[in-house]
Subunit: 215 residues, 2 copies
Amino acid sequence: MSTKTKLSYTPSIRRLPSYLHIIRAFQRTSDPYISGTWIANELNLEPIQVRKDLAITGIVGKPKKGYPVEQLISAIEHYLAWDVEQKAIIVGAGNLGSALTGYQEFRNHGLHIVAAFDSDPSKTGKTIHQVQIFHMENLKEIVEKMNITLAILTVPSPYAQSSCDAIVAAGIRAIWNFTNVKLKVPEEVLVQREDLSSGYAILSVMMRTQANNLS
Amino acid sequence: MSTKTKLSYTPSIRRLPSYLHIIRAFQRTSDPYISGTWIANELNLEPIQVRKDLAITGIVGKPKKGYPVEQLISAIEHYLAWDVEQKAIIVGAGNLGSALTGYQEFRNHGLHIVAAFDSDPSKTGKTIHQVQIFHMENLKEIVEKMNITLAILTVPSPYAQSSCDAIVAAGIRAIWNFTNVKLKVPEEVLVQREDLSSGYAILSVMMRTQANNLS
DNA sequence: TAGATTGTTAATCGATTAACAATC
DNA sequence: TAGATTGTTAATCGATTAACAATC
């Protein structure tokens, strides 16, 4: 059976992290209930969309009051599998790798970056944000020893495919790909590509459209 | 009139950069025509989807042969407004700001980062990837002098809104927001948020789903 | 109680996919 | 010519939005 079945509710899943962020901030007010309407206002969304999105987590709200804050946070975290610690490694200890390693928000998502790898021997032994850098030669050994299942790929694009091959050979099953390369992987390996250019494409067309409207 | 009209074809626009990337690589083969079928195979998409996407740029192909490579590149670049130079500044000269400043691919998109800003005085005068760092105090002055219309926001989230306010006060009309903060801006200012957590949410749910299927 | 908010069911909208004639 | 590929028109699919009864 192919593992490449399509994921349902992807637009909703993409919005859940912003809900979680907002709800955690709201939690500090000690109000035990939060309404979908309030979340929607905060994020410029429609209340019905928020309710539909939250429904996929299985949360049940109370008419008139809203959703119980603690339970709602748990439900979102559980749905996203953010309630269990997920260990990950950084492959490519450059600026982007370093930025992601230092990104505190990931800790709130259960994501722990436990090691970094680089093919530049002069980086070996150094640390980025208290995470040790190893040489790529030791990838398989350390991945096996630490039982790692996720790699974050932040190498320059010419090295993307070869690094990916090393990651797969090390037994890793999921890759978060920050390069602009479409990676070739065995069917059972999951790849999530973070394409910076696509966001800029949207912004660029918006700017052109706005400029045209003004004239 | 509100400028917040919804952008059409956003899924297609998001895919155009990967098409462009593939087509530019193909260009080196000197073959004057490229088929939608070939692009689709390369990116694991359906040929019909590629044809529909390319159609929004106005390109016209030749049955049996495909699309003329040079014209296709021009059509995509023109549609994305990537055929004109777009100057931008980095606000927040940390690791992420530095990574984006050094990201060579942006040059292929007409995006030129011409200055960086940071509130840390010890960074003032230094450079990241040959781009000079200025103090935030000089933001408005330099933005006006250099006629900047786009800011890339890469500050830590606690500083996101105040930095955004400074950007707007400097007269900038478009912000590419890499923080996890929902920015409050006047209606006429465009914001494109790049939300790293949403990509991780997708990956995390895929991993959970796959793990469940295997058991 | 009155009214705000939920959850469900239905309607709409837009994106993807299918079918196929046209054609180089 | 035969066949691969385009572009158009229609069908399907899934996401968003609307309507509204239930209810705390």
